[in-house]
C-alpha cells in the first residue's frame, strides 16, 4: 500500500470517527446529565434524516433541510421527553432499556407509515458534490470535509457550552449531584427537557448530514446506535471528551481494520481465505477494541466509577 493511500485511509478513519461523534455526543450528554440509557437515540437520528429529505424535497435547499432536521429532531426529542422519558429518570437501567426499545418500534413503523417503505432521496448540495485536492495530492470528497468541520465545530461548541455558559454550569452541577441543582433553584425538569432536546437535535443533525451520503431508510438508526454506544462506553459514559476520543478510536479501528487485516493475512494465507478471515475479523474489531478497553479500564478511558 502506498503512503498516500495509507494517509487517505487514516483520514477516512478520522472522518468516520467524527460522524460517530456527532451521534455519540448527544447520547453521552443525556446519559451524563440524566443517567438515562436512550436506545431511541437512533430513532432521533432517523427523524433528522427523514425530515431533511422531506424539506430538501420541498424546497431544494440543503441549508433549510439541515434546519428542518434540527427542528424536527429537537421537537421529537422534547415531545418524548415530556411524555415518556421524564418518567424514567428515577427508574433502573432495565426499565429505561425496555421503554426506549418500545420507542424504537413506534418511531420506525410510524416513519414507514408516513413516508412509505422505500428509501428516500437526499443528496449533498451541488457546491460540495465533487472532490477537492488536498496537499499531497489526495483527492478527497468536499462534503466529507464539511462533515469533519461540522463535527469539530460541534465538539468545540459543546466544550464551550459546558465550560462557559450558565446552562453548562447547571449541567455540570446536575452531573455531580442531582439534588444540588434543585437546591440551587434551577428548574430541573425544564433543564432536563432542554438537555434532551439538545441531544436529540445533535442526533438529528448527524442523521441529516450523514443521510446525504448514505441511505435514508427506516431502521437506519439502529446500527449507528450500537456503534455510538460502543463509542461512549470506550470513552467513558457522560464524558464529551471521551466521546470524541472514543469516536476517533472506533473510526480508525474500523476503517484501518477493514483495509489492513486482509493485507496482513494475505502475507501468510492464500488470497481468498485471507480476504475471508480478514473481513470477518475486521467486522469484529471494534467490539474486540471495546472489550479490551473495558478489561483494562472498567469505566472507559475518561469515565468515573
Amino acid at each position: 500500500m502506498s503512503p498516500i493511500l495509507f494517509i487517505e485511509q487514516v483520514l477516512n478513519g478520522l472522518q468516520s470517527g467524527i460522524m460517530l461523534f456527532l451521534m455519540a455526543a448527544g447520547l453521552t450528554l443525556i446519559f451524563g446529565v440524566m443517567g438515562l440509557i436512550n436506545l431511541a437515540h437512533g430513532s432521533l437520528y432517523m427523524v433528522g434524516a427523514f425530515a431533511a429529505a422531506a424539506v430538501a424535497g420541498w424546497t431544494g435547499s440543503f441549508v433549510l433541510a439541515l434546519a428542518g432536521a434540527l427542528a424536527a429532531a429537537a421537537a421529537a426529542g422534547a415531545v418524548i421527553e415530556l411524555l415518556v422519558i421524564r418518567r424514567l429518570y428515577d427508574r433502573d437501567h432495565l426499565d429505561q432499556v425496555l421503554a426506549t426499545f418500545a420507542l424504537i418500534l413506534i418511531f420506525s413503523e410510524s416513519t414507514r407509515w408516513l413516508f412509505g417503505s422505500f428509501p428516500l432521496y437526499l443528496d449533498v448540495p451541488a457546491a460540495l458534490s465533487g472532490p477537492v485536492r488536498l496537499p499531497g495530492g489526495i483527492l478527497y470528497p468536499a462534503y466529507r470535509l464539511l462533515i469533519i468541520a461540522v463535527g469539530l465545530v460541534v465538539a468545540a461548541g459543546l466544550f464551550a457550552l459546558i465550560a462557559r455558559t450558565r446552562i453548562g454550569i447547571q449541567i455540570r452541577a446536575g452531573e455531580a449531584d442531582r439534588e444540588m441543582i434543585g437546591a440551587l433553584g434551577v428548574d430541573i425538569s425544564k433543564l432536563y427537557t432542554l438537555v434532551f432536546a439538545l441531544g436529540a437535535a445533535l442526533a438529528g443533525l448527524a442523521g441529516a448530514l450523514v443521510g446525504a451520503i448514505q441511505s435514508v431508510q427506516v431502521g437506519m438508526g439502529e446500527p449507528v446506535l450500537i456503534l455510538a454506544f460502543v463509542v461512549i462506553v470506550i470513552g467513558g459514559i457522560g464524558s464529551i471528551k471521551g466521546a470524541l476520543v472514543g469516536a476517533l478510536l472506533v473510526g480508525l479501528t474500523d476503517t484501518l481494520g477493514s483495509v489492513l487485516l486482509p493485507i496482513f493475512f494475505s502475507s501468510f494465507l492464500e488470497q481468498s481465505s485471507a480476504t475471508a478471515v480478514g473481513s470477518a475479523l475486521s467486522s469484529m474489531s471494534i467490539y474486540i477494541l471495546m472489550a479490551g478497553v473495558l478489561l483494562f479500564k472498567p469505566t472507559g478511558l475518561f469515565g468515573e466509577a
Binding site: 420507542l103 418500534l105 472489550a291
Partner: protein, 327 residues
C-alpha cells in the same frame, strides 16, 4: 395461598391447556406457538437468574441462545450429511439425538458464559450492559462471515431431531418435550432461588459490601450465576433451533438479546414465572397484532411502553402485588 403462587399455577397450566385445546380443535399451529412460548420462556428463565436474582443486566444473552442453536445445527447437519465433525485426534460424529445435543448445547454455552462472564464481570452498570452486548455482536459477525456452516444463510435441518421413545415430529409431543424441560428448569430455578447460593447471590445484588463482609465473594457468586444462566439460555437455543429445524446468525443478534430481556421485564424481573408470562404475552401480541395491521409494531411498542410506565414489576408484579419475592 399467596396470590403469586396462585398466579404461578395458572400461568403454568396455561401453556399445556392452550396446546391441548389446539390439539382438540386441530389447530397445530397454535401448538407450535405454545411450544415457541415455552422455549422462549425457558430462555427468559435463564436470563432471569442473572438479571432478576443477580442484578446482572446482560444485553448479550443472544450469544448463548445462538451457541445452543448452533450446537444443534452443527451436530444435526453432520449427522444429516454423514460427515463426521472431526476425525483426528479422535472421531466425533454428528448426532440427531436431542439429549446429546442438549448436553453439548449446555456445556458449550456454559463454557462461553464462563469466559464472557469472567471478563465482563470486571465491569458494572451500563458498562456491563454494553460489554456483554459487544461479546454478542462479536459472535454475530463471526457466524455471518464464517462460511463453513452457512454464514448468513444459516443451516436447515430437514427433519426434527429425535428423542428416544418419542415421535418429536408430532407437534403435541414436541410441545410436551419442550414443556417438560421448562417445568424441570423452573423447578430447578425455584430451588436455586431458595438455596444458599440464591440467598447469597440475591444479597450481592442488594448489597455487595454486605456479602463481602461475611466472607463471600460477589464476583464468584455472579460468575457462577452467569454460567448457570447462560447454560439454560443455551439449552433454550437448542430447543428453539429444533422447533424451527433451522439456525441462523439472527439468533445471535442484539435484537434477540433485547427480546429475551423484554420477556423477562414484561413478565416481572426476579419473579420465577415472570418469563413464562412475558413470553406468552409477547407471542400472543405478535400473533394477534400481526394479523391486524402491517404497522403492528406501533401497537406492540405502545403496549410495551404502557407496561413499563404503569405496570411496574411486570405482569406478575402487577397482579401479585409487591410481596417479598424471595422467600
Amino acid at each position: 395461598m399467596r396470590r403469586e403462587t396462585l398466579l404461578n399455577i395458572v400461568l403454568f397450566a396455561l401453556l399445556p391447556a392452550t396446546a391441548l385445546a389446539a390439539w382438540m380443535l386441530d389447530e397445530p399451529f397454535i401448538i407450535t406457538l405454545a411450544t415457541k412460548a415455552a422455549i422462549l420462556a425457558l430462555a427468559g428463565v435463564g436470563l432471569n437468574i442473572a438479571l432478576g436474582l443477580g442484578g446482572l443486566i446482560s444485553f448479550g444473552h443472544a450469544a448463548f441462545f445462538g451457541l445452543g442453536g448452533y450446537a444443534m445445527g452443527i451436530l444435526a447437519s453432520h449427522a444429516q450429511s454423514y460427515a463426521p465433525l472431526m476425525e483426528s485426534p479422535f472421531l466425533i460424529e454428528g448426532t440427531k439425538s436431542m439429549p446429546v445435543i442438549w448436553l453439548v448445547a449446555i456445556v458449550t454455552s456454559a463454557l462461553a458464559a464462563l469466559a464472557i462472564g469472567a471478563l465482563s464481570l470486571r465491569t458494572s452498570g451500563v458498562y456491563f450492559i454494553m460489554v456483554t452486548l459487544a461479546f454478542g455482536q462479536m459472535l454475530f459477525y463471526f457466524t455471518i462471515s464464517w462460511p463453513a456452516y452457512g454464514g448468513e444463510d444459516g443451516l436447515s435441518i430437514y427433519v426434527r431431531n429425535g428423542f428416544p421413545g418419542l415421535n418429536t415430529l408430532d407437534p403435541l409431543t414436541f410441545f410436551g418435550v419442550a414443556f417438560a424441560v421448562l417445568a424441570l428448569v423452573l423447578w430447578g430455578a425455584g430451588r436455586l432461588a431458595k438455596s444458599a447460593f440464591g440467598l447469597a447471590l440475591s444479597a450481592a445484588r442488594q448489597n455487595p459490601e454486605r456479602v463481602e463482609t461475611v466472607g463471600l465473594a460477589p464476583y464468584r457468586l455472579r460468575l457462577v450465576a452467569f454460567v448457570i444462566s447462560g447454560a439454560i439460555t443455551g439449552l433454550a437455543g437448542a430447543l428453539f433451533a429444533d422447533l424451527n429445524r433451522f439456525v441462523s446468525p439472527t439468533m445471535f443478534s442484539w435484537q434477540t438479546s433485547g427480546e429475551i430481556m423484554v420477556f423477562v421485564i414484561l413478565g416481572g424481573v426476579g419473579r420465577l414465572f415472570g418469563p413464562v408470562a412475558g413470553a406468552a404475552l409477547f407471542i400472543l401480541l405478535e400473533h394477534v397484532l400481526g394479523g391486524l395491521s402491517e404497522f403492528w409494531h406501533i401497537y406492540l411498542g405502545l403496549i410495551l411502553l404502557l407496561v413499563v410506565l404503569f405496570a411496574r414489576g411486570g405482569i406478575v408484579g402487577t397482579i401479585a402485588g409487591r410481596e417479598v419475592a424471595h422467600d
